[in-house]
């Protein structure tokens, strides 16, 4: 049984068919990629899988259970973690608070525990701080623990976002353009960060990328999406050199090797 199985998923915004008959299977430990020109519907697919939009048709199965119709926080708690293209960090919160927040669904002290500062709350908060520090160490952001994220350099912000996403203990991690806006050095760094996360937690990862180098280095399987439909899928080399893919990109933007 695949870990994540998306079957015949379609969605439209008004009259615009944003995604049609989309299929995806991810096995445990597999890294998949999704490429395509701007506006092809890549982020929409992420939003459909994570429950931000509800697909008009189709199923999203995580370990066999259909998660369509659940709220996005429930889907996240079930094990589909994600990052965002525009990061979406919380600007008034410190790095430590970011990572601890991702443990929200794991806390059990309840509201009255929070109001009354119960011993259980103290224990759980302490344990959660310790665990958060481990995640932060793993991504090399522990020295920023008490700083507001907005004061961090861009690369560190990206790593905070990764630490935060992994602290939810996902089974599948969706990365939305993890290297967008990065210099080539930062990009190389990010590739190793993704690898590290993959090896350490034995995750299945599915990522959107514009940079084919990232896709080539990380992914075993790639889909090319154009106008909401998968045009070609296969290994990175097959997809990259496919005439249809080249056609879709030309005139649209340059391929950044």
């Amino acid at each position: 049984m695949p870990l994540l199985d998306v079957k015949d998923m379609s969605h439209s915004f008004g009259g615009l068919k944003a995604v049609s008959n989309y299929n995806l299977t991810l096995e445990p430990g597999q890294i998949g990629g999704l490429i395509g020109p701007n506006g092809a519907g890549k982020t929409t697919i992420f939003n459909l899988i994570t429950g931000i939009y509800k697909p008009d048709e189709g199923e999203v199965r995580l370990e066999g259970t259909n998660v369509v119709g659940q709220r996005s926080n429930q889907i996240a708690a079930l094990g589909i973690g994600r990052t965002f293209q525009e990061m979406r960090l919380w600007r008034h919160m410190t790095v430590l608070e970011h990572v601890k927040m991702a443990r929200y669904s794991k806390l059990s002290y309840g509201l009255f525990g929070a109001f009354l500062d119960s011993p259980k709350r103290r224990r759980e908060e302490e344990a959660s701080t310790e665990l958060a520090m481990e995640y932060m160490q793993l991504f090399g952001v522990d020295q920023y623990a008490d700083q507001l994220v907005v004061n961090l350099p861009y690369g560190a912000q990206r790593r905070v976002e990764m630490a935060r996403a992994l602290a939810t203990e996902p089974k599948v991690l969706l990365l939305d353009e993890p290297t967008v806006g990065m210099t080539p050095e930062e990009m190389v760094d990010m590739i190793s960060v993704v690898r590290k996360a993959h090896e350490r937690f034995n995750l299945a990862i599915f990522l959107i990328e514009h940079r084919l180098r990232v896709v080539r280095e990380l992914c075993q399987h790639v889909q090319a999406l154009v106008f909401g439909q998968v045009l070609v899928e296969g290994t990175p080399d097959e997809v990259q050199n496919h005439p249809k893919v080249i056609e879709a990109y030309i005139g649209e933007q340059e391929i950044d090797f």
Binding site: R82, R88, L89, W90, E97, R103, Y104, A114, D117
Partner: protein, 447 residues
């Protein structure tokens, strides 16, 4: 040590403050204030007559000064006669303030700074609760002696304490969660009416609510129950605002919550069985200073606990980016619901306290003007901060009392001040500051 001497070099208010009072822990400052209040009890009356003041200054001489100012303004705009002799009240009030408060405070803090630090350090070895109780004991003693000198002081102090709780409860929604809710006076009204319904209905012979059902002695022991009942009713009514908050944000929620405020107000205006527009009066005199002090301390404690827990920080996550909060497993619906219900609970409780301080309520008290007042306190003091709520509630209450002699002009000065704060500190005076009891009550200098 280095940090303190650096602070002493600083220019401006902070530097000035540190040159006089620097290095003293809160314990020393509280001791200083206690000495001041006791000192005022001894010499206040006599000093006032020596300084040719008509009576003892009530609020640090500020009202005395603003009365003179108001007289001058009336002379200019209305041509009312002005007794030029009263000009002398201004320097005399300043002297009074210096002799009674500023100088003794500085002397005590200077003299006891080292000892107070040592005491604060040794208190740190004990459980936190001991430190907290010692500080609260000092605070209460100051309030008690300070308010003993005049009834006006007592009622101002009570109202200010209630305002602190109210401001903090609104800060949960407008600051920590970043929504703009206008329904707070509505929650207060529900709390005030329901707790009055409880106390007046059960224990007082009243024209509207009928004779006392119960007449047991020690009935005031049920006052906490009455307050909690009021708070819970306010929470229940908050559901009406909380549910639309899942779908609307920003301006729309502001309009819905404003509508809620008017619904509540006209509901009570038309409920003849609750006194209609005349309201309810004759609440038993149970909201004494110690009761209010304890309730407000518990409220601040519970709210502070909540906003510092991960469940409470979820409010910030929802405010700063709701989509990211959802993706990080935060139950955003529950979070919003809790913020509204919890905020409304404390607002209702504050409303109940207010009803029993004033011992009379009517629907007109819980209108737009109240809303403006409490919003001003929140935004002036600072969003997302317990300190900010205290600063906001105290300073706006104090300003309101001080500027009272200016009558209608008061409503030019206070909004003007608010505009200035919004321009120069858009999030308020002390925004986004965490209240850490250990830090606040701990020693200040390491030497």
């Amino acid at each position: 040590m280095a940090a303190t001497s650096e602070l002493k070099q600083q220019k401006g208010f902070k530097g000035l403050y540190f040159r006089f009072y620097g290095g003293a822990p809160l314990l020393g400052v509280l001791l200083g204030f206690l000495v001041c209040t006791l000192w005022e009890m001894i010499i206040g009356e006599a000093l006032a007559s020596v300084l040719l003041l008509p009576k003892m200054p009530i609020l640090f001489g500020l009202v005395t000064m603003s009365k003179v100012f108001a007289g001058l303004i009336n002379l200019v705009i209305k041509d009312t006669p002005f007794e030029w002799f009263t000009l002398i009240h201004v320097p005399m009030a300043m002297i009074y303030f210096a002799v009674v408060y500023a100088v003794p405070l500085a002397v005590v803090i200077r003299l006891t700074g080292r000892t107070a630090n040592a005491v604060a350090r040794s208190l740190q070895q004990l459980p936190l609760i001991v430190t907290v109780l010692v500080h609260l004991g000092f605070m209460y003693a100051i309030f008690h002696f300070w308010a003993e000198l005049s009834d006006y002081r007592l009622i101002s102090l009570k109202l200010t304490l209630v305002a602190v709780l109210l401001t903090l409860s609104l800060n949960i929604i407008n600051g920590y969660m970043g929504e703009f809710s206008c329904s707070h006076p509505g929650f207060m009204a529900v709390g005030a009416y329901m707790s009055s319904f409880f106390t007046v209905g059960l224990f007082v012979n009243d024209k509207v609510l009928g004779d006392a059902v119960l007449g047991i002695p020690l009935a005031f022991l049920s006052f906490p129950l009455a307050l909690i009942f009021g708070g819970l009713c306010a929470s229940a009514s908050a559901l009406i605002v909380a549910i639309p908050s899942f779908r609307t944000r920003g301006d729309y929620l502001a309009i819905i919550s404003l509508a809620f405020l008017f619904i509540v107000k006209s509901f009570f205006e038309n409920m003849q069985s609750l006194g209609g527009s005349r309201g309810i009066m004759g609440q038993p005199d149970w909201a004494t200073l110690p009761v209010i002090f304890i309730v407000v301390v518990i409220g601040v404690w519970a709210i502070n606990n909540f906003v510092n827990s991960t469940l409470g920080k979820a409010l910030n996550a929802v405010r700063d980016d709701e989509m990211a909060a959802d993706a990080m497993t935060v139950d955003t619906r529950k979070t919003k619901m809790v913020a509204f219900l919890f905020g409304a609970f404390w607002a209702g409780l504050a409303g109940g306290l207010l009803a029993h301080v004033l011992r009379f309520i009517n629907p007109a008290m819980f209108g737009i003007q109240k809303l403006a007042e409490v919003l001003a306190m929140v935004y002036f003091g600072g969003l997302n901060s317990v300190y900010g709520s205290i600063v906001g509630a105290v300073s706006i209450s104090l300003l309101g009392e001080v500027l009272r002699p200016l009558e209608i002009l008061k409503w030019i000065f206070i909004p003007l001040l608010l505009i200035l704060v919004m321009i120069y500190r858009p999030t308020g005076l002390v925004a986004f500051r965490e209240f850490d009891v250990r830090k606040a009550f701990g020693p200040k200098e390491v030497d």
